[in-house]
Symmetry: C3
């Protein structure tokens, strides 16, 4: 399952960079930026682990994540200008992060013996609540509450994953396919500005 | 204890509706409304379960709650206009919810062997923190911090419950009476605009 | 370890007073002020306990803390004017609180067998997240995200503590010295307006 770990690390890295950029935009100091980077990257998984009772929370048992975030902070400060110009490619990595976090969150929840409906919710929480906490701490209404198809993409991806698992599709193939679904929906949602607003 | 379960479900349903209406007022999309409905209804009990160490948190083990919230979301969107006109009756159900959540939260905390003072606090947390988190996510100062006798009503109800339990009043009678106390105080607090402001 | 307990109680007391004053400034009622006082004083340690899986969280097992906070609330309301004039001395006690909370948080995390890097993070969380949650509930961007060397002082203090522990400096001496480091840095940071802003 090594490649899943690699994707997970990429997700954490990209989320940490996006957190740092948001913090800089808001005029936070280094400490604030570090906290926001950390929470954007690991907040969703942390909340999931708390809710399903898996403590100490995951990242405490694998300090690699701390170094990845520290690296992301460094990269953000050193290459601030470059990254701003790369926002479009960032969005691709960001979507990879959402895909991995959703499916891994769902998987983790199933493993502790909880219901598939709860597992899908926890997949969504893993993928989006880092950003929600980031926005709350930055004193803005969480982005996902307005106009963007973000959390709902995770729900669809999670449903596809569960369906394929019921059909005995092997884990690797299932994971790749479900992530691809999330990626494609999100790609069109952003480029064509889909919305679920009433 | 079936009727307690029914009251609990009513509480969750009404809290979810009030959450959805707040979300619609704030211009959130369906996803935002779902998250806010969910958190308003189950946030308080979830926080209590986390603090007292009862994980996975309660609603994960009884998916009925998820369907009740889904139902509340549907009802809110279908009968938006009607519900707005029924606000007054909603307030009665809302107060039932607060009563049940307070006493059940207190009871749950006593059951894990914690101190009665802590149990009263956890009763309050169960009843009001769903609303607090809803307000924080909507980027407003939590309503209960201003002018309304809300949390203090729960404290009084909790004290009455503990007192009657010490006097060996049977559970059902005690629960009904304590909830009635909460209901009456809150009713007069709202209709006569009582306040504890300094 | 009695004197550590005493320092801890002082920290809780002072944090609760500062929380109450903030709440009064924001026009919250008694309930709001109590909640804010409580969260400012115990929020950091509570979050740490949740994350490392030590539940029920600490203060639930030692109700002294509840009375200390109740005392702080009373003192705040009775001597509001006097305390405002004593802000400078308050700052000294506040810094004592930060020192104790940092080192105790770090120590508690090491005791459950977690990594020193995680322990330092949890020291910081214990010291500053009460204030972060207070600010979020008051609907302002957390103070520590802007201009003040606050969390970084805790990191330095934590590093000093770990270093001295590796050198087998006895606990009491180490604790006193690390707290002194935090105190001195913070003192100069505030009086000379140091900043880490970019």
């Amino acid at each position: 399952m090594d490649w899943v770990y690699v994707l997970n690390v990429i997700g954490v890295f990209v989320f940490a960079i996006s957190g740092t950029l948001t913090a800089i935009d808001n005029g936070f100091d280094v400490v604030g930026a570090s906290i926001i980077a950390f929470i954007t990257a690991l907040g969703g998984g942390t909340l999931r682990d708390l809710l399903i009772g898996k403590t100490p929370v995951g990242w405490m048992l694998d300090t690699n994540y701390l170094w990845v975030i520290l690296g992301a902070l460094l990269v953000s400060y050193l290459f601030k200008e470059h990254i701003q110009r790369l926002r479009k490619s960032m969005f691709i990595f960001d979507t990879i992060g959402i895909g991995v976090f959703t499916i891994l969150g769902l998987q983790t929840t199933l493993e502790v013996g909880l219901n598939p409906a709860v597992a899908i919710l926890m997949g969504v929480v893993s993928a989006v609540f880092g950003g929600v906490i980031r926005d709350v701490l930055s004193n803005i209404v969480p982005l996902i509450f307005r106009s963007e198809i973000y959390a709902s993409t995770c729900v669809v991806g999670g449903l596809v994953y569960l369906l394929l698992e019921m059909l005995h599709v092997p884990f690797t193939l299932n994971m790749l396919f479900s992530m691809a679904v999330i990626f494609v929906i999100r790609y069109f949602a952003v480029t064509r500005k889909w919305s679920l607003k009433f």
